[in-house]
Amino acid sequence: MSLLAHHIKKDIRHVRWLLGLWALLVLAQFVLVGMGSRAEPDDLAAQFAYQAITMMLPFLQAVLLIVIIPVLIHDEPLVGTTAFWYTRPISRSFLLWSKTLFIGIALIIFPAVVELTVMAANKAPLHDLVGIAPEILYGSLQVIVPVFALAALTLNFARFAITGVALYIGLSVLYLAIYLLGLYFRGVEETAVQSQTLALSRSMVSGGVIIVTGAMVVAVQYLTRRTGVSYALVGLGVIGMMLVGSYWPVDFMKLPQEAPPQNAVDCATLSIEVGDTSSRVSSSGRRRGREPEQIISAHMEITGLPPRLKDELPA
């Protein structure tokens, strides 16, 4: 048996219960979603239960991921000077390869394969499956790589949790500060993203920055164990992510210009009635060099919408 298989077998033995639960949740989620709700349309309790379960399963999966990855990585920690593996003939590159392979197969490829299989079973065309596979992998990597990196930077689960929470709070405060500064200096219109597809493009590139930074941190930690360098990389990654998230200029998610959609709204036939109860109208405000504006929140009744669009809107 090769040493790689020997090591992965040891890791599987260590996290076997967690891994089993994870696999069960993945299977349950995609099978449930694939089957769809079999409850009668008027059986609201059953409908609600189905919705609650299908919403809860991804959350539980995420929680399990946040447990499995650190347990796996902290079995051979990369910080401190007391780890068992330091004094055994295990090379750093071997360990990196072994852990990456384990996480890649068990936590990224396995759920992706299950999801695609369920889609295929529901008669999704092959070209759709091929198109969606990279998106599924990209989504998984955006969650798993940062968790992997954080685990590689910490000695045990307690420190992992504390560092994770501190990082989350720090980033939230930073985002809020940047957003408020933007509002103050640039106004609401310029701070708000002008196009949904540009926002999506920025989010995609931000995700890429997270993945690349996380991968670099993992590589540096495993190959050199220079935690200071890794933290510097995290700092650069955070700055890069924020800059890209706010200023990335290329809208690569924008679809090419097409003919007006079938459910285009004819404004002449459209009427909007604002209800007289529970409505609120803000006092008129005016910022430098702009038209006066008011914010209205109310119950509205819209008539004259095309039937297809009507079906898509919430009641």
């Binding site: 040493l3 079995d75 004094t87 055994r88 003939p89 295990i90």
Partner: protein
Amino acid sequence: MSSDSAIETHELSRRFRRKNAVQNLTLRVPTGSVFAFLGPNGAGKTTTIKMLMSILRASSGSGTVLGGNIQKLRPDIVAQIGYVSENQKMPDWMTVGGLLNYCKPWYPTWDDALCERLLRQFDLPLDRKLKHLSRGMKTKAELLSVLAFRPKLLMLDEPFSGLDPLVRDEFIRGVLELTEQEQWTIFVSSHDIDEVERFANWVGIINNGRLELCESVVGLQSRFRRVEVVLAGDSTATHQALPSDCLLPEVSGRTVRFIDSAATAHEREDALRRLFPSDVRMTATPMSLREIFLALARQFRLVEGGGAK
């Protein structure tokens, strides 16, 4: 590295922020020796061992262990080193049997028969998880996992801390039995001389990060003598004239006591005789390693406190 030394360091240093944990350590551990690396707590023993094992990077200096550069020991070199430390964090979720099965494939020299024999000798339960073992049992499991691959170098960092006397004895007997048969090199650090006195044949003493002494136990014991001189008259002036290698001088009435650290030097006895009048009674008695260590430890403290003779 010369083939007759298992460990060699040259001007090895390690700094932690402003503190020099190890300073300019130049050391040679002969192959086949049992080298006791002694020093008080915080002297720099563990830092030195961690640098030798490539766990910590040296701030400056160089070194080799079994011919491998300590800046980055290759796995094939590490496969010949057995490391046991009180500080090592074992994979506690494994059973003793699981630990042995996990370790075995990493070592081409793993000896199943020896492993079986040691398992019986140490009386370890194969199916018990490491986290459920007592400290002594855990240390024995750790030792078993390194002895079973017949290491060329056994690196023991404070292995006796927290062990009860019975387990200590078993531990030492286990190590001694094998090293005598196999001619392994043992590098053992301790702050307690009692534990290593029985089997060490070389000794290095580190204090405040500096290596104060490194020589064979035989050489050390022939060099150190406890000297007692009973004078006819006042002893104060005479004791102040003692040479600098006479350590810890004490005066009690007409008696002067000191540790002679250069007893083997030529004309040493003559020099001392000249120092004291001819009608004195002078006795020099050999010292155990423990007494020498304690005398040196007291001397270091005296020097640090500025009270050196």
